[in-house]
């Protein structure tokens, strides 16, 4: 086994009971060649400083818990190899979020944005059980499947310059989720969801495209936003000249 290489981790610390502002603390860690950033954080917590707080769970880029800024870029720390970084690695909480403690950010605002776009199947009239399931072809599924792969890791919110400046903006993941349901052939709630998107300042997206660049699941929220803008504009114009008919 290779000898461990030493790296210095510059980690953001914030204790809400003592600190007015976050500060940084440096840790020297003997890292193994196959370690991810999360391995180093867990080593710091286990071996040096048990007070360090960070979120993590599955360690396989599925749960979306361990998102942090690594050298300034939002990353899933369980998927980010330390071999790609220099001798000094900066780990900060995700940008654009209030910080609860150390590397842990406040998620409630994020969850509220999800609720706002009504991420469930909306039917004008519920089908009776005896009428059977609403069928959907594989081709129809393929139209929105990409947008349903989001793991809610919030990296897109940390990468988006608009989220940091416009608190009313719904943000990339919520809009991608709305678009996922708008493209679902079983859904009939597009008009009310598009109204929610307009209320959520959909058009404030200035196409930095960073959300799609940092997405670990290739969801392409930026694509969902641009398509939603188009759908919303068509819906708005139709609303001016035609009576509303459901979807």
């Amino acid at each position: 086994m290779d000898a461990p290489e030493k790296k210095t981790f510059v980690v953001t610390r914030f204790d809400p009971d003592r600190d007015e502002l976050p500060k940084t603390q440096e840790y020297e860690v003997p890292v193994q060649p196959d370690w991810k950033v999360l391995d180093a954080l867990n080593w710091i917590k286990d071996e040096i400083d048990p007070s360090l707080s960070h979120r993590w769970s599955c360690r396989m880029a599925v749960c979306g818990s361990c998102g942090m800024n690594v050298d300034g870029e939002p990353k899933l720390t369980c998927k980010t190899a330390l071999s790609d970084y220099g001798d000094k690695v900066t780990v900060e909480p995700l940008s654009n979020f209030p910080v609860i403690r150390d590397l842990v950010v406040e998620m409630d605002g994020f969850m509220e944005r999800f609720q706002a776009v009504k991420p469930w199947i909306i039917r004008a009239k519920e089908l009776a059980v005896e009428e059977g399931a609403t069928r959907q072809s594989p081709e129809e599924l393929s139209h929105f499947k990409q947008f349903s792969m989001c793991i809610n890791c919030m990296l897109c919110y940390a990468a988006c310059p608009v989220v940091g400046k416009e608190p009313g903006f719904l943000g990339p993941a919520a809009i991608a989720l709305a678009h996922r349901y708008n493209l679902d052939t079983r859904d009939q709630g597009q008009a009310e969801r598009l109204a929610a998107l307009r209320e959520g300042e959909l058009y404030n997206c200035s196409y930095a495209n960073e959300c799609s660049e940092v997405c670990p699941k290739n969801v392409d929220p930026s694509g969902a936003i641009q398509q939603s803008k188009l759908l919303s504009t068509i819906d708005w114009v139709q609303g001016l000249v035609l009576p509303r008919t459901g979807k």
Partner: protein, 148 residues
């Protein structure tokens, strides 16, 4: 260096349970990554579009004022500074504005266009570039008196 983001960025509507640190964002967010630099340059290309609009409005005003004003405007356009400005504008608007618009156009394509399935996405950038070249050439030929 991080700077404060909007104090209400990602703030929940309900009162937060504990004292939190205010959200931060990268202060030099446009410098570290080539992607961000391209985004800022794209936004900056709007300044050239704005300046070109002013030139256009001045041209319209000269046209409405009379032949003397119009000829003076045309003479001004021949000034080396104007020529440099127009060449620079063309380069910036084509490289950042048009190129970004072409990428954006691909992103806006729905899964189906009417009843027809959408063509593969790779078709769009060369098709757009070809259409742009065709229109540019046609305009140059028409204005140059070569065609029709």
């Amino acid at each position: 260096m991080a700077i404060p983001a909007h104090p209400d960025a990602m703030k929940p509507r309900a009162r937060t349970r504990t004292h939190v640190a205010a959200p931060m964002m990268a202060g030099n967010w446009w410098t570290p990554s080539p992607r961000y630099r391209a985004y800022v340059a794209y936004a900056f290309s709007g300044v050239f579009i704005w300046l070109q609009t002013l030139v256009f409005i001045r041209g319209l005003w000269a046209l409405g004022t009379g032949e003397v004003a119009w000829n003076a405007f045309l003479e001004d356009l021949c000034h080396p500074l104007y020529v440099v400005f127009h060449v620079l504008s063309l380069a910036v608007i084509v490289w950042y504005g048009a190129r970004t618009y072409f990428k954006l156009f691909v992103k806006t394509q729905p899964p189906k266009i009417g009843p027809m399935p959408r063509p593969p996405l790779w078709v769009f950038p060369p098709a757009l570039a070809g259409a742009w070249l065709f229109v540019t050439l046609a305009v140059v030929l028409v204005l140059g008196g070569v065609w029709p």
